[in-house]
């Protein structure tokens, strides 16, 4: 309240008379603290070193074996490395699968996050949704893949996947794999959207309600535009997960070397057909698999790493843009 109190007259001595400021110097710390500090420091450096090692090693190997021709030729089965073609189909497969997975995951995740944050009633149901998504996030991808197989082998879902000539349903297709991949990406998008919505203060919503707007209108015109960056971040994270996943590809996509359409319809046929992604290609071509093309495995792994790094930087960029806004 005392606005009229005068600030005390400055009594600072001349700069050269002032003693050096006493800082918090490492030499004044206890030994245990110094040790702990050094450990933290070393761990950070070690992590950076590991990351750098992976990127540099894969980069050197990748650039060594990667050439444009490899990127644009289709793979062919062969015993010798020079007869196995390129990695066009795995790249296409990765792109298709990611698009399907994210196209299913984003609407599902955003709507459920909106429901949870903006309505969230009845409370037990909200809790169930939340823990349900946590369970999905924690489920190993191979379990999700096997479960997907059980679903998509149901005769009623036969039109969605690869069917053998005898009529047996394999339950393997881009659609099946994409649907299950969306479960892997969903928790990422959900979490990011929920964080974004919860960070919007209540009085912003109330301001909109107080103007006579309904909840739906408020969500559409005020809240969703504000969480766009969060959704994008979550989607980029989810895409990273999809791109990097192997189990679902092997079990649900067939991991066939080439895109093998089912039926004659151009695009739909591909979606119903099988294929492979970079991850399954790397596995197959590596010494662990049957492809016997280790150099191409390195090249494909490098491409995969590039994609994931790009997605990571996208996440970083989107997150930072949100902060500065």
């Amino acid at each position: 309240m005392a606005a009229t109190i005068e600030a005390p007259a400055p009594v600072a001595p001349a700069p050269h008379q002032r003693p050096a400021p006493r800082g918090d110097r490492l030499s004044s710390w206890k030994w245990s603290h110094r040790l702990a500090f050094l450990t933290c420091w070393a761990c950070g450096i070690a992590l950076c070193a590991v990351t750098l090692a992976i990127v540099v090693y894969m980069g050197v190997r990748g650039i060594q074996y990667l050439n444009p021709e490899l990127l644009f030729t289709r793979p062919t089965p062969g015993l010798q490395q020079h007869t196995t073609g390129g990695i066009l189909d795995p790249i296409m497969g990765t792109v298709i699968l990611t698009i399907i997975g994210i196209a299913i995951a984003v609407p599902l995740a955003v709507t459920s996050a909106v429901w949870l944050v903006e309505y969230g009633k009845p409370a037990p149901l909200a809790r169930a949704v939340e823990s349900g998504i946590e369970v999905v996030a924690g489920t190993p991808d191979i379990v999700i893949a096997i479960f997907g197989l059980a679903i998509f082998q149901l005769p009623i879902l036969a039109p969605l996947s690869f069917t053998a000539s005898g009529g047996g349903v394999f339950g393997r297709s881009f659609l099946a794999a994409g649907a299950m991949m969306s479960l892997i990406a969903l928790p990422m998008v959900f979490g990011a959207t929920r964080e974004g919505l919860m960070s919007i203060p209540t009085h912003v919503r109330e301001a909109s309600w107080a103007l006579g707007k309904t909840r739906i209108c408020t969500i559409r015109t005020i809240l969703l535009p504000q969480v766009r960056a969060n959704v994008a971040t979550g989607a980029a994270l989810g895409m990273g997960r999809i791109v990097g996943d192997t189990a679902v590809v092997v079990v649900l996509l067939g991991a066939t070397l080439q895109l093998e359409p089912q039926g004659d319809v151009p695009i739909l046929g591909n979606l119903r057909g099988t294929g492979s992604t970079l991850t399954s290609y790397v596995y197959g071509a590596s010494p662990a698999g049957e492809g016997n093309a280790p150099q191409k495995a390195y090249a494909a792994a490098f491409v995969l790493l590039l994609i994931v790094l790009t997605l990571n930087f996208a996440v970083d960029y989107l997150g930072r843009r949100k902060e500065t806004r």
């Binding site: 005392a2 109330e206 301001a207 909109s208 103007l211 006579g212 707007k213 309904t214 015109t221 535009p225």
Partner: protein
């Protein structure tokens, strides 16, 4: 507590500008002086000339609001008249804001809040009105300036448009938006660039934009929840002056912690304490001749 049926004497009010002593004591409270005395006096007297308010706009009848089992507002009855500003004062947590938020049914959005009694708008229970329609007639300004992250124009246009329709378009809305900004005293500062993001404005400008947004639909009542507590003294003075202008055309209900502000802008003052309406009456009377002991203590404590 039956103070609100006390008849307000217009001649008593007319004497206010020529009676500086109580005013001066308010200023010694070191609250910001809004405008120099020379400008202040004529403005007040001009306002006073129109007499003590217009017709009754809203009526609160035996209203109690409970959060769970905890009562926040207990058995409050109040009239709200057009053409005057009602200041709700009282210590923190005494139910002022809850009372205010009940007037446009915003308490409904709080989980576990229940209500007894009635709130009438032009004789109709607000429960009977469509809530969106009610809130367009009883607008609200919040403590934090909270423009939406859109352009200045869109902020006001959003309020005018029905829900999230794109129509009417920009050209048709231009006059209405300009009018709202003019009435909120913001037009001269933003007229050059209505497409500027609203969040680039200063705090005081943002709050005036929120007022423009609130009055764009020509509401009958304007609720203000401590509209100046997040603002600097200069912006506060501008907004107080604005309230003085706005109350000519609509009923203003303002919650404030700042007694001096209540004295400056309020025609009527309601003092609440722990959910009770302790005293209600003409501002002059409540501040200078409070009837209830608690009012006297509160007013004196803050004055001295």
């Amino acid at each position: 507590m039956s103070a609100h049926d006390r008849v307000v004497d217009p001649f008593l009010d007319d004497a206010v500008p020529s009676l500086p002593p109580p005013r001066r004591r308010v200023r010694l409270d070191r609250t910001p002086v809004p405008v120099p005395e020379t400008q202040d006096a004529p403005r007040r007297s001009a306002v006073r000339e129109r007499g003590p308010g217009g017709p009754e706009r809203m009526r609160v009848e035996r209203l109690s609001v409970l959060y769970g089992e905890k009562p926040a507002v207990k058995d409050v009855s109040l009239p709200i008249h057009a053409g005057e500003a009602l200041a709700l004062i009282g210590p923190s947590g005494c139910g002022k804001t809850t009372l205010l938020r009940t007037l446009n049914r915003l308490t409904e959005t709080t989980a576990g809040a229940t209500r007894e009694g009635r709130v009438l708008l032009d004789g109709v229970d607000v429960e009977q009105l469509e809530v969106t329609a009610l809130r367009r007639r009883v607008a609200m300004v919040f403590q934090q300036p909270n423009p939406f992250p859109m352009s200045i124009f869109d902020n006001v246009a959003y309020a005018i448009r029905v829900q999230n329709k794109k129509r009417p378009g920009r050209r048709e809305l231009e006059p209405q938006v300009a009018d709202a900004l003019r009435r909120a005293g913001l037009w001269d500062e933003v007229a050059g660039d209505l497409d500027r993001p609203a969040l680039r404005l200063s705090g005081g400008q943002q709050q005036r934009l929120c007022i423009a947004r609130a009055i764009a639909t020509r509401p009958e009542v304007l609720l203000m929840d401590e509209p100046c507590s997040a603002l600097d003294p200069r912006s506060t003075a501008v907004i107080e002056e604005l309230i003085g202008e706005l109350r000519r055309e609509l009923a203003v209900v303002i919650v404030t912690h700042n007694l001096a502000q209540a004295h400056r802008v309020g025609d009527k003052v309601a003092f609440m304490y722990l959910g009770d309406l302790v005293e209600f009456g003409d501002a002059q009377q409540v501040f200078e001749d409070p009837r209830a002991e608690r009012t006297r203590d509160y007013v004196a404590g803050a004055f001295g």
